[in-house]
Symmetry: D2
Subunit: 167 residues, 4 copies
């Protein structure tokens, strides 16, 4: 049994779901659907481990038996939402945002505020593809930056993330 478990984990893709620690009902539904679909596809979910979009995504993934990793900003593993199976305790505050995206091969951004924007930025800086659902739109010098790849819906977001998952 245990060997089976090990095998099941190996070779899976890691996808970050990033978004606000508080979120709208609509965003939570999107996140939960993304989590479900990621788990069904066998991907491992990485997130910041807290509430809102992070919790909804972990809830969805857990419902389908997926593995969920929460990279926590604080010192206390108990701060993880109840659907985080693997809490990583950084004690590094917002600097943990860097670790969330670097630990993934693609990221799906859902809504979100400036913390999410920092994760999007760190991902793009590290050449990690970012798929967006109702999230930030970037422009510079009056031209839109198209680095955030738009998705139509949760299933589309997961498909794009898994196709683009790097390395």
């Amino acid at each position: 049994m245990y060997n089976l478990l090990t095998e099941m984990i190996n070779k899976r893709k890691f996808v970050a779901v990033i978004g606000g620690g508080e979120c709208s009902k609509e965003e939570a539904e999107l996140a939960e659907a993304v989590g479900r679909k990621l788990a069904k596809q066998g991907a491992i979910l990485v997130c910041g481990g807290l509430g809102g979009v992070m919790e909804a995504a972990c809830k969805g993934a857990s419902a389908e038996g997926g593995i969920t990793i929460g990279i926590l900003p604080g010192d206390n593993r108990q701060a993880a939402n109840p659907y985080v199976q693997i809490p990583i305790v950084t004690g590094m505050g917002y600097a943990r945002n860097v670790v969330v995206v670097k630990s993934a091969q693609a990221a799906i951004a859902i809504g979100g505020s400036y913390g999410t924007l920092s994760e999007i930025s760190h991902a793009l800086q590290s050449d990690i593809p970012v798929i967006g659902l109702n999230t930030w739109v970037l422009s510079k010098n009056a031209q839109q930056d198209n680095s955030i790849i738009p998705a139509q819906n949760p299933a589309d977001a997961v498909d794009k993330a898994l196709n683009l998952a790097s390395r």
Copy 2:
């Protein structure tokens, strides 16, 4: 003399200048003018310590006798541009972006790519005012986010940064 120096440093405002490690000639000119003006106003310049906008700003500040702090991503203090007087060596890669903005009471963004965007995001997340010169424009849900305060020119950017410098 030394006591005078100590007194001169105390009570100054700390302002971050953020922007690309490579930049256009125009951006370098803006950054150098910002650095000059910050030094003339007695502010201490904080930046990421490398080239491009960071170096131009430090060059400007140094020319006016200002103090320059470079928060370096790598392990080597020699990587600082020649105008950094106080190199802080983090060895933390892009996570040092968080430290650059948190160590300032206001930030001036000039041009920049995704690293700069991450610094803008971390600043806004930490309620540190951000003044923009030819930099990113943010929008969400088809509405522009006006958190980045636009400046007309370097002098205007410095005035706004010093007026808004928090805590």
Copy 3:
């Protein structure tokens, strides 16, 4: 099956194995035995993800079907040893040592150099119990500090770690 997997992960204890990236044959044997025993007891292994003691411990754990987490210092998930199932990519260099111990409820130190000593220190600073196998001995003011709990052998180390695993 997947739900079973989720359940299998939940409620397990997290134990860090810390030690040198290069190590003696004896240390590697100790580490592998510790990894095996941790997996048999159902604990999740946390380590720095690289070679030496870390790799030997992951090898032992994997052989028994255990779950292994590697908190990597660099930017590249490929740098993980082949027995790491869950690579966490920090890009933060030695600052990741803090994350290795904070993510565990107890730590087992095997041999090791100054990096290991920093992990021992961070663990003790965070009230995470440290069990020692042939590792550092600390003293201050001519008195030995007994915070590192000595173990007789790998099985003893694992027993002590699991008994003391906090929170």
Copy 4:
């Protein structure tokens, strides 16, 4: 005047003083004397920015007109002791210990608990010389490790630190 200031800062050596946030009266006296002597020799003092040994060292350095840098663990620059002139705000908790020593070319350890030991370890790991005053003694495999260079008194500690200051 300002140009003079810039020149005064350039080319100085950076020395970390590490020790407990709480300390004995004797340790505080050692730290203050170390701070004074560092300032007299023109060195820039780097520390963790808080109380105890850190504050005493900054107090001594300030009394002689020296420059003091405090690398703070939290999010608030106001947490710096009153003798810190240049607060660096990391928000990274104990991971800031890495930055304290990496930003220095030599470190002087005075007393201290596990946090100080982590700084000693990170310094030694990064080949930064450590001078000790009444601090930790390390041994491994029944042999004392002599990497911490003992000093007889504050003046001796500063002399050794400045002689060994690397890079």
